[in-house]
Amino acid sequence: MDAVIDNLPVFLEGFRNTLGLLVISGVGALILGLIVAGLRISPIGSFRGFATVYTEIIRNTPLTLILFFCAFLLPYLQFSPGYFTLAAIGLTVYTSPFVAEAVRSGINGVHVGQAEAARSIGLGFGQSLAFVILPQALRMVVPPLINVFIALAKNTSVAGAFFVFELFGAARQVTNDRGDQVLAILLAVAVFYLLITVTLGIIAGRVEKRVAVLR
């Protein structure tokens, strides 16, 4: 236990970096994902095709491979803003198709009758999207979106293997120093991760209850 207490500053620094990665790449993935989702439902065929190919390729590539590209090949191409930024870029790119799919499934989940009703009372494309479809879709999107962010919180641990000092990196360093107390150290790190994921899970449950559309 003393190994955990002695190294608490190390864990806290790792925790801060994990949270930083989560927030930065979460916001980035949200923006990129919304753009991709927009392309995917757009009336223009080529945009839809491009967004589909992007989604399929990124979703079927292991995160390790994407981070490998960011950590080793981008610097090789003379783009090296530091490992933290590179990891944030990798996580953003990896998470964006999952965000896009969540948003798209929300939009597809709105009952067709809603769109037909909006159209039949004379609303245009933009109007029916803005006043009828999106308000309903966004509510349905929130819970799966939070699940995506929970997955992202766990995925930040992979960045620890690529020279970013976050929780997993902290765990590796401290277990190297204190091989005698591996169990306590890893459980402590697990608690830190659960702090993030369980909190997000509780938020998801609350939001789901509050914004649930009666159907």
Binding site: F168, Y193, V198
Partner: protein, 274 residues
Amino acid sequence: MTSVLYDAPGPKARRMSRIISYVGVAVIAVGVVALVLALGAPKASANGAVQPGLWDLSRWDVFNDLEVWRSLGRGALATLEMAGVAAVLALVLGVLFSFGRASDTAWIRVPTTVVLEFFRGMPVLLMMLFVLLVFSTGSFWAGVAALAVYNGAIIGEALRAGIKALPRGQREAGLAIGLTSIATRLRIEFPQAFRQMLPIIIAQLVVLLKDTSLAFVVGYSELLRSMRDLTNFFGNRYSFSFFFVVLVIYLAMNLSLSWLARRIARRSGSKPTH
């Protein structure tokens, strides 16, 4: 769904949309070509030496060596081996978890729920390190155990949702014809839930296959590890080439599994969710 949102286009709108489509294709194509050219452009390093571009033949001649392909093949096989063993164990664990969570006895249900939540909130990588250090298994079993437990927890949740979604009458009918509670679950509810949830389960197995690449962190020599080793052996000159080939191998494996998932989803005739 989206097609309801706008009118059927007239001749003018069709022309407009065609023009935008061409422009869109052109913009995307220019972007892709620019990226390919940027990767291929020779560049000068700090000491003035000019390195050939990434598509230059001198970066790819290494693939004439059969030993390279053999090494990549061994890596891919190791990846598939880990994914296969972990997938079987994950399915078994998933079934056990789902029974535990749907149990009528609180003494089984509550601990299972806690354990499930714990495993689901944990990064796979941390679990691998945990198994490796605490149980000092080899890297193979560390990876397999972590992947099996994590994905088993998720598959268990999916199966439980499937059991819960069944009409109550199924269970009542089973009990009414004199089956015990366990027999009802095993012979009436479970087969239906499994079929209903098969697409989700296979999607999770794709995730499992992708996550085997995490095992390279704990030192298992799978595909990603082969890539690193080959890059270290042949030099950084080939790092992009190896990366590209390994990416293609991963995509081929994962896309074919995803395609299988979609086919099964269509064949099993489960109604579309919306």
